[in-house]
Each structure stands twice: as C-alpha cells, then as structure tokens.
Symmetry: C2
Subunit: 374 residues, 2 copies
C-alpha cells in the first residue's frame, strides 16, 4: 500500500494515509523514547492572563462582523460567537516580551504591569494576529492552532478586512504612547517586507541561508524585536535599553523561527497542530529546506526534484524529502543555527544588569522557546 | 438584437454590447447637449504636485516587490515599473484637504506647506490607496481609474500585502506627529467598519437610507474627515478647529459619496473610467439603489426583482433597472441628498474666520466635488 506510511519522528510515531490530495493522520502516539517536554514558563502564563482581557475589550469595540472574525481567530470565541473558556489562541510570546521588557526597565520594580504596558501587550498580539489572518489567506492554510482558519469559516473578504482592522486597532491602542506606536507601525512595514520575501522565494530552488535569514528577520524578527522595544519604552526605558532589548528580540525571533521550521518537519503533528510534512507539501522555503537546497550534492538534487514535482506531493514524496533532509543533516544544521542566535541572546542578557527574578524569567523564556516541541 | 443597447445619458451617448457576462462599450461620445464641465480647482492641482513626490519617495522605501505594486496602483509607474509621466492616480482630494486645512489653521500664513503637512498629505493618500487595493480584491473589480486593478496584474496575494504595507507606511510617516498618526489609525478602523457594513448590506433588498449613511460615513466620511483633522493638527490648529474641520470633512465625504453613487449610474463611463451600469451589475447598495429599494412601490419591486435575478445581469436588465431608478426619481433624490450635506458644509465654512484666498479655495473645492462629472 503505497498510500500509507509509518513515520517515526523524534516526538511521535504516526501512521499516515494519503487520499490523493492531502495526508491524514490515522494514528499519532508519543514517541516513548522521548521524555522531558519543557514546561511552559511563568512569563507566558502571565502574558496569557494579562493579554486575553485586553484583546477581548479591544475586539469588542469593532464592528460586530469584524469582532466575530477577530474573536474567533484569536481563540476567544467559537464560530458561533460563544466564548471559548479553555485558553485558545497563541503562545502569547509577544505579549510576554512586552511585559518582561517592561519589567527589565521599570525602576522601581512594579508589582503589576501599568495600564500602558498591558495595552502594549495586547497591541503586539493583535499585530501578530493580523499577520496570521492575512498569511493564512495568502498561503491558503486551512488550519491554524488546531482549528479551521478564519477565511475558511467567514470567507476571504471578511477575514481580509478583519486583518486590516485588527492591525489599525493595535496601532491606535498605543495612541497615547507615540514612540511605541511608531515602533509598532514600523514593525508592520518590516513584517510585510518579510512576507514579500517569502512570496518571492516561492518555489525557487536557488535559495540561500541568507535569503532565509532576510525573510525571517522581517517575518518573525521584526515584531518580536518591536515587542521588546515597545515593552522597554512603555516601562520607561531609554533608547539605549530599548535598542539592546530590541536586538535580543530580533535574535530571539530568528532562533524561534529556526525552531519553528525544525518543528515543521520533525515536530509532533498532534502537538504543533500542523499536518505532518506540511512545510514540505507546501514547498515552503523553511531553513532546513533552504540549507539543503543551497548545499550542492545528492540530497539537494533529490529534494529539488521532489519539490519541483508538479501537482500535490504524495506521502512517498514527503517521506523521500524528509530522508534527503536527514541525509543532509538539515535538522542538525537548523538546531545549530537556532543555537547560534541563542548564544548571542545569552551573551546580550549577561551584559545587562537585571534583578534575579527578571533574569530567571528571561532565561526560562529563552530556554523554552528554543527547546519547545509545539 | 437584444444584446445591443443605446443609452443616452447626461454626459454621453453610448452603444453597448453584451457578450453574455459583461457589457462592452462599442461607442461612447460626449452628449452634445451638455456643456460646462467644471474645471479642476487649484487646490486639487496643487495637491497633486505636492503629493506625487512624497508618494514616490515613500513607496521607494518599500520592499521592491511591494513598491512595484504600490507604484503601479498609485499611477506612478506602469506594470513594467516604468514611470508614468502623465498624471495618473486619483483626484488627490484627501491630500488637498490636508493642505487646505493646514492653510486654514496656520498663523501666520505660510507661502508653502511645511514638511509635516506635506507628509500628512502623502499619508492620507496612502491610506486611501490601501483601501482601494483591498476593496478591489474584495469586490473583484478589474478596472480602476481606467487601468487594470493591481490584483489582476500582480496577483491577489501581492496586492493584499501591498495594501497592508502601504497602510502601515502611511501611519509610520506621521511618527513625529502623534495626534495626526492617531487620527489616521482611528480613521482606518472606521473605514474598515464602513467596508464591513458594505459587505453586510451585500445583496439585501431590505435596506434603508440610514444603512447607506452609516456605511458611507465609515467608508468615505472617516478618511476625508481625518484628512481635515490631520491637516488642521499639522498646521498647528487646536482641537476646536480640528474638530470643526473634521465635521466639514465628514459631510464632504457623504456629499462626495452621494455624487459618486449618482455617477455610478448616470455618469459618463468614458470620463469616470467605470463600465456603464457597473454599480447595477455589481448590485451595489449605492444611494439611488438603496433609496429606491426602501420606498415601497412599483419601482422598488421592479428594481428588487432585477437585482435578485440569479447570474449576470443582461444589458436589458441594466437598462430596465435604470428606468426603475429614473421612475423613482432616485437621481434627483441622490443629488438632493448631496445638496443637504453641501448646505451643512457651506454654513460651517461661513462660521469660520478665513482669509479670502483660503475661503475661495474651500468654495471651489466644495463646488467641484459636488458638481463633478468624473
């Protein structure tokens, strides 16, 4: 049966079925040889508690049709507008960085974040949600965070418009904090440039790691860097600390994206919410794929040939592509690339004079983001 | 030959052909009984001269793929990226209102606009261009200002992304002028609400003039009002004058939209750049259509029946719809509606203490916008 396939990956073992157009998981189980999935750090938990009410309040001010899409997309409501009680939505990494960067700069230390910092946390998350709403339309992705994407539920037009309004809302939430608002608007410009780079790389085989880095700097680095800058500014930090934290954020964004790209091929599909081999099926120029394609040799040729195959890729194609990536040590390369950025971050954090509990939160966050499995 | 039709409208006489899915103009000639097309006022000419270089410079800072789309869409370049020398692009109404509102508030009067005001003029035009880029995608419009729409040339994804980046760029251009930037971001939120209202009205027959007014206040009024506010603030005006001018802008937006809706049915297609009967073919809930549908009677029933016809409307359907609108005096109603807003504007301008040359520019602009034929 050439349309069924067993895959044994780092985190999981799965049986796949291919129905002619997409793969379906028949069975996914945790790989019993793997233990020690890192716990979600406190900074992300706190960010979720702080941000969800802000998102809820901000979205409630929108036109009801757009509020419905935004609320659904952000995981606050289901598609009938009913509140989702279990914590839906994203990881809240960007709000966590706003809160943590604010705590890094605030003197004296506050016991709870200021109203401005809370607004900043909500605003960066909304910009992230805007980009996901539009990316899902552009990439024709049908699932996101384990749910149907907004455009598949509400139609492309309304999802597009909801993305627009969510972005403008985010910037206007920082109206009383001009430098933070300006940083956010500039991040959106970079984010769009990164997405343009992504579209331009498209299905080209002649790609380099530098292309990937430029794309990821815009697509992921810019908003994560801006989250740190916004938090630092709203916490009362000067330009010096805002720039230092923004630099940390940019490297964190690149490490995060490298890990994301690793998970997009070797991750546990049940945990990440992405179909197995999705990045290969989508012929995405992710870091392992880019690194393999840009290194002359048999693996590069095999991978390029598979990715150039017209029509949908079969489960066999995807398995062969993963074998080529494994042969080229692309997983290790990708992990190492993330590690290089992580080392830069650790050094930069080491140079800052931080209260012990703030340092611990930074360390935990960096560790989690670079060792995460979802 | 029931697929050919002569239409004699106010500004033109035309022979139409219907190919089964869309109307094509075989012949359009000026209606010789009409004379005296109003001249373009100086304020719009100046706004074009001032704004085009700002747009060019701002767009040049974008990712090249997005700059190409934005430049094409704004009428600065053709689809091969070659500069368009003859004045392409829009009417530059919004930049004109920034410049004029700044002149209304500046003391002492300046001989040329400040750098901030020039940036404001460019920024409001870019927000307008963002909304057109996205509206054209949502409405599947294939022509705009007599050219192929950006999404038909560059694809939906790139056009969508270009819209995003142009909006963020516009707001970040006003980074040094926080209240103006905030006004612009808030206008985008309202603009999206108006577009959501437009999508919601969709093809409903149960619509009222109040529905139209709410939609137009968001879709057209908000950005025109914001243009006046941005100009007033950048000219150094206080909140009082900024709010007075913003109110004038909102009414101007509604008068402008009413005239636009009139032109969408009775305008000279060769001059407006819109296909004849486009607003009917698109079943758009424009003011004459909304007014007719909401007034019980034979015209309303005929129009509703035509607009409810499944599939593409024929030239015969469109002609019959125009006859129903004419029967309901919808053209006169629409003109009168515009006139009511114009009267409000004239009264509000009358209450302001304006230098004679500034008053003349306001008067000329209002006259042109409410008597325009394109």
């Amino acid at each position: 049966m050439d349309d069924h396939l067993y895959l044994s990956r780092r985190q999981s073992i799965m049986l796949l079925e291919f129905d002619g157009s997409r793969t379906r998981e028949l069975l996914v189980m945790a790989n019993p040889t793997v233990t020690g999935v890192p716990a979600v750090p406190a900074a992300l938990e706190r960010a979720r508690e702080t941000s969800l009410p802000v998102l809820r309040r901000a979205i409630a001010t929108l036109h009801p049709d757009l509020a419905a899409v935004a609320g659904y997309h952000c995981g606050l409501t289901d598609q009938h507008g009913r509140p989702v009680t279990a914590g839906g939505g994203g990881k809240m990494l960007r709000p966590a960085l706003v809160l943590l960067s604010a705590r890094t700069t605030e003197t004296p230390a506050r016991t709870s974040p200021s109203e401005a910092v809370v607004a900043g946390a909500g605003a960066v998350q909304l910009v992230h949600e805007f980009s996901l709403l539009h990316d899902d339309i552009m990439d024709r992705d049908r699932t996101r965070r384990g749910r149907a994407t907004a455009w598949t539920v509400y139609g492309t037009d309304t999802a597009l418009l909801a993305g627009d309004v969510v972005m403008a809302l985010a910037i206007s939430m920082l109206g009383d904090h001009p430098p933070a608002a300006a940083a956010l608007a500039e991040a959106v410009v970079c984010l769009c440039a990164g997405q343009a780079e992504d579209l331009a790389l498209g299905t080209r085989s002649a790609v380099t790691v530098a292309d990937w880095e430029r794309m990821a700097t815009g697509k992921t680095g810019a908003l994560i860097a801006a989250s740190c800058r916004v938090g630092a500014l709203l916490g009362g930090g000067d330009d010096g600390i805002a720039t230092a934290l923004s630099d940390i954020g940019e490297h964190l964004g690149l490490a995060f994206q490298a890990v994301d790209d690793w998970l997009g091929i070797w991750g546990n599909s049940a945990a990440t919410g992405k179909p197995v081999g999705a990045d290969i099926a989508a012929r995405k120029r992710s870091l392992p794929i880019t690194a393999t394609l840009s290194t002359p040799g048999a693996a590069s040729q095999t991978l390029a040939a598979i990715l150039d195959t017209p029509g949908n890729l079969t489960v066999g194609d995807i398995a062969e592509a993963i074998a080529a990536l494994d042969h080229a040590n692309a997983g290790e390369f990708t992990r190492h690339h993330a590690q290089r950025h992580t080392t830069h971050i650790r050094t930069a954090l080491g140079a800052l004079d931080l209260p012990p509990e703030v340092r611990r939160d930074w360390d935990d966050l960096v560790t989690f983001l670079t060792t995460r499995t979802t």
